[in-house]
Symmetry: C2
Subunit: 461 residues, 2 copies
């Protein structure tokens, strides 16, 4: 396998064209103070006039939240041989340090666990080990808060919730169940699988005596009240990729109902599927949730539920019943909020090939947002984000850049050499182990039942 000098020339010209991709160029612009504009950047005006062309400060904020969502993948133990499979590698106070994200100026305050009483394809990663930390629950995300310094720059105390998604988009999409279920009062309905992950609790798992919904809402209430007591302005920004984007909307719905107008709630999602019906969309709007959906043009996940059927209808392959179902689905599931559509075909760094996994990859989304100027323009020349990240878990970066494919991996698949001279799975130190959410919180059952999101909780066992 040789490398042609013609393609080498191409690379030099790309790099010449994009000087910020030199190996010694910084990956971020100077941070500017956005305290006077934060409400607008947080979506108070539905991001009007900020998306076309994309406001540089907003672009950086979107990338920041996307990196928080990416952190939920990079720290998650997918190895079914590991007895900690389905948990987070790191303890929460070390997460951002391990993932080189301390520069964003946030601190993790809480880990969230989830389980589901509905069979959902490819969301639950379960250890094969007898001594598995949990067979039912998965680490599903975290809550973080901006530091004092960063809050000054941001103009308010920003609370972030980042939800983990699934890997393996193609299989996932084909298997998402298409079944709406009521959420709260009125006509509001959402996809039952997503809601199940968000609201299931069960006695069988000590990590889910409380549902993900209960865990995250309790933390948000504590944080909001403690900062409000100090007279601070507070915002909540909820993010996630893929399934994580769906959970972000359910979480934003519950948070906006809980905090009414006290705290602005935004959701910035990447590659999120449709979550609910028109009534859900209208409800989110009515309660003030601002949603910004980032979508890569050829990614199929944002087209579900309903993708396969719609596709068949377009190609005229359905009978009368099929057409009727497809039309119903199309009108049943509605996308919400504002959309920022990026387009993988514009990047000179990405292989132009058909690759569902690549189209859906969050790192590729972030590369495209970082390079986005407007829907009509090419990738901007001064994009700084490290293009090596494109290959973190894909092989889509052009070969000429000489970055290995799917390079994100642990040394020796996580095995360590112990003092007896054997290669073993490490015993995680006490503080790294997933610890069950405290059970001293039964007193807030009344709070839980006052929120609409929690009223759909399914009891498992």
């Amino acid at each position: 396998m040789g490398v042609h000098s013609s393609s080498m020339r191409k690379v030099s010209s790309i790099i010449q064209d994009m000087p910020y991709q030199r190996l010694d160029a910084p990956t971020m612009s100077m941070k500017e103070n956005i305290s006077s504009r934060w409400r607008e950047l947080h979506g108070s005006n539905y991001w009007e006039n900020l998306l076309e062309p994309l406001d540089p400060s907003l672009r950086r904020e979107i990338v920041k939240y996307g990196e928080f969502a990416q952190a939920a993948y990079d720290s998650f133990d997918f190895d079914t041989n590991s007895k900690y499979c389905g948990s987070n590698y790191y303890r929460k106070d070390g997460l951002f340090d391990k993932l080189h994200l301390t520069r964003h100026g946030y601190k993790v305050t809480k880990y969230i666990y989830a389980m589901s009483d509905i069979i959902m394809p490819r969301w639950l990663e379960t250890s094969l080990a007898d001594s598995a930390w949990s067979k039912e629950s998965n680490w599903m995300g975290y809550v973080a808060v901006s530091t004092d310094d960063e809050s000054e720059r941001l103009g308010r105390r920003d609370i972030v919730v980042a939800w983990r998604g699934t890997i393996a988009p193609a299989e996932w999409v084909q298997n998402v169940k298409v079944q709406l279920t009521p959420l709260g009062e009125g006509n509001v309905k959402v996809e039952q699988g997503f809601l199940s992950v968000y609201t299931t609790k069960g006695k069988s798992s000590k990590y889910n005596k409380k549902s993900a919904s209960q865990q995250v809402m309790k933390e948000l209430k504590n944080l909001v009240s403690s900062f409000k007591e100090k007279g601070e302005e507070v915002s909540i920004t909820i993010t996630g990729h893929s399934l994580g984007g769906a959970l972000a909307l359910l979480n934003a719905h519950e948070a906006a109902i809980t905090f009414t107008n006290d705290v602005p709630v935004s959701a910035i999602t990447f590659a999120g599927p449709r979550v609910g019906n028109f009534a859900f969309r209208d409800k989110l709007d009515k309660i003030g949730v601002k949603v910004l959906r980032v979508v890569n043009k050829p990614d199929i996940v944002p087209k579900v539920p309903g993708f396969g059927l719609m596709d068949a209808m377009i190609h005229n392959k359905l009978g009368k019943l099929g057409r009727s179902i497809a039309q119903k689905l199309h009108w049943t599931y509605a996308h919400v909020g504002a959309e920022l559509e990026v387009d993988i075909s514009k990047s000179p760094f990405v292989k132009q090939e058909f690759n569902l996994g690549g189209f859906h990859s969050l790192e590729i989304y972030l590369h495209l947002v970082d390079g986005y100027h407007s829907s009509k323009s090419e990738l901007r020349k001064d994009a700084k984000r490290d293009i090596a990240l494109i290959n973190k878990s894909t092989g889509m970066l052009i070969d000429e850049m000489k970055i290995p494919e799917n390079w994100r991996q642990l040394s020796n698949k996580g095995l360590v050499y112990n003092k007896y001279g054997r290669w073993v799975e490490p015993t995680r130190v006490e503080d790294d182990l997933p610890s069950p959410p405290s059970e001293s919180s039964d007193d807030d059952e009344s709070n839980d039942s006052s929120t609409e999101g929690a009223s759909q909780q399914n009891q498992m066992n």
Copy 2:
């Protein structure tokens, strides 16, 4: 994918049966002093009465030399995206520390590089990078010497040469050229591809102004004369796996001619192919080289050259000409020395499946030697070597042990996070870079030409 409780019981019973495979059991027996027996263990009497049953002290020595050969794989940069592809990751004074081999009590004194003027399948790993450290040469092995303490235990100063082999046994075997070429005087002939790797030098590579043969022999002469001057007894033990086993025999041949009866020379090879004709075998014997070949029963590499043809002949698929060639090959290439045949089908830890790569894997060889008692007995119960090593670069360890397949890997495929926030190939520190063998040694050209091995050197350019 679930795990049946029946197979889980099986594992517990294996572990109960083999208590030294508990995770907190030592991986080695106490070292005993072998100073009174070293000549016998080194093969002075052709290992007679030491192989059946296998002498425990000899077993440990074989495993030690095998681990030295394994080190040549574990430290070799196979990544064609790396500009250091084909070199060693580590500097020579850190090699054994990085690979947890300091317990053997040896120190590396020299790295050896090789090139070839004959197209040999799958032996040369070449970087695709423009700035590659070398396009022609590969790191091919090293010389190490026992420390003072260890020499006391061993009864002499032991000099080891370990030669790297190839990965990808199946393709390699099918492509080995079948062509004998003269070596030195008389009727002695060896496979020309192996000899080419051992003896090629060329002006185009600064690492091979001298051939591998010249590099290793110069180091051996320096070491032997320096220890002999101090009045020490010295042995040379040459080891290697696969292609490395072939190089070990060529090297042993040259060393025995060079040092005549002053220094006993042994070769302990693993999975080595046939190297030369009957005259080569007789010559090795005549000059006093002691060869112990370790062979795994179903491994095909020790059956080449000639394997495909022999197989076809056995199945009666050859015409008259083919039969004649096959018979000629069979009688042309001869195995040398004593053989220790291990058998993968005896290990309860190894999957019983057809897997040419697994049959040929050096780590599996070492597992089988460690468990070997006699040709008639099962794997010994008190085998201590870590069974996780079976899966270092195979998937042959039974799943129940819950060790990931092919677990040997670098963190993030060797990429590191630089101070600008980019993931880059690390710049190796000065001392880690392969440094060309010193060129101040033109004065020993006369020595080179006095050795028979060197008389076949091919000049490349």
